[in-house]
């Protein structure tokens, strides 16, 4: 079997305190994968710390938001011809030990998009707050209803993407709060979607892209985006 080229994408915004350790951890566990840190216009030393850790660093001139950063990663993966792109958060909330679990369904060509779910794992101590869990549950039901794909953790940003989807995502990827909408888009391209259990920790640095007061905006925006996507033509 031909060896597949794998890119680990880490979107990071002001993660200077933890990024180096994370990059070193990943490169020690998986020396054959390329690590790309997308520094999303950070005001701290994220870029230097990441490249000290041995990662490739792409620095955006201003803060695009998580979706814009991840899309940059997909563009990189597409341009350089990577077969699989794995996204893992820069705040060390996602445990790199589970990277291979998220990867393997895509690597074995059993899925085009594999999502790491904190709710499938008994060992994941971090389950988020009650309100957030309600929100996540809402998107599970909505996506299940619209796409017949039932996921427990559609907001998880710990995911592996196959070559076919990389190309589509490099062309269009939602700008803010992209995760649930990206799943909807993926089903439109006929992608096979899987979920695997992962362990998530409490974040060590940075802040969630979903802050307290923007939760309502988040819920409405993502719901609207998913509904709008159903109006787009199936590929």
């Amino acid at each position: 079997m031909q060896k597949k080229r794998i890119l680990v994408m880490i979107p990071a915004y002001n993660e200077g305190r933890v990024i180096k350790r994370l990059v070193q951890d990943i490169s020690k566990r998986y020396p054959n994968y390329t690590i790309l840190v997308i520094n999303d216009g950070s005001r701290d030393d994220t870029a230097q710390k990441a490249s000290q850790g041995g990662a490739h660093v792409v620095t955006l001139p201003y803060n695009l938001g998580i979706g814009g950063a991840v899309q940059t990663g997909f563009k990189y993966a597409h341009q350089k011809g990577y077969d699989i792109a794995i996204q893992i958060d820069g705040d060390a909330q996602h445990d790199p030990a589970y990277l291979k679990d998220v990867l393997s369904p895509v690597l074995n060509d059993e899925a085009d998009l594999c999502i790491g779910s904190r709710f499938l794992s008994d060992r994941s101590r971090f389950k988020s707050t009650f309100l957030r869990r309600m929100g996540i549950r809402f998107f599970s039901v909505l996506l299940g209803w619209l796409t017949r794909v039932y996921l427990t953790d559609p907001t998880s940003g710990f995911r592996a993407t196959g070559k076919h989807l990389i190309e589509h995502f490099s062309r269009y990827y939602p700008i803010d709060f992209p995760e649930p909408e990206a799943i909807k888009i993926a089903t439109r391209y006929g992608a096979r979607i899987r979920e695997v259990p992962v362990n998530m920790r409490k974040r060590l640095g940075g802040t969630s892209s979903i802050r307290y007061f923007s939760t309502i905006y988040y819920m409405i925006k993502v719901t609207f985006a998913i509904l709008i996507d159903t109006l787009k033509r199936k590929q």
């Binding site: 620095t59 955006l60 001139p61 814009g68 940059t72 341009q79 700008i175």
Partner: protein
């Protein structure tokens, strides 16, 4: 009669300002079309008030002035929709530019570091 003159002058002023802005290349035709169209139709309507009266009767407005207000409202709603569209377009473009710039910068730095290491260990067995 005074009103008519006033409206004609105002429309002409707007029209000339827009033309002057295009001449000075402060506005492109694409973005001035709305203003050209609006001031031109204002001019036509003020020069020939029969058109306005006929149109307002046709659409069921009892007062032509109400019809004018209605037209203005519609025009401005349309304009702000257009402006929102333009802002979005610009937003998408700067975003694509930022991403392309970042990827190119990374590429340049990679090439540079390859060159630097090549310079540091010159293999010139002569």
């Amino acid at each position: 009669m005074q009103t008519k003159l006033f409206v004609i002058i105002t429309s002409l002023l707007i029209l000339l300002t827009v033309v002057e802005l295009i001449r000075r290349q402060k506005m492109t035709f694409k973005y001035s079309m709305f203003w050209l169209g609006a001031s031109f139709s204002g001019l036509v309507l003020s020069l020939n008030e029969n058109i306005l009266v006929t149109l307002s009767e046709l659409t069921g407005f009892s007062l032509p002035s109400n019809f004018v207000f209605f037209l203005l409202l519609v025009a401005f709603i349309f304009l702000s929709l257009l402006l929102t569209l333009y802002v979005n377009e610009q937003n998408n473009r700067t975003e694509t530019l930022a991403q392309t710039l970042a990827l190119l910068e990374h590429e340049i730095r990679t090439i540079q570091s390859v060159q630097d290491t090549a310079h540091q260990s010159p293999k010139n067995p002569r």
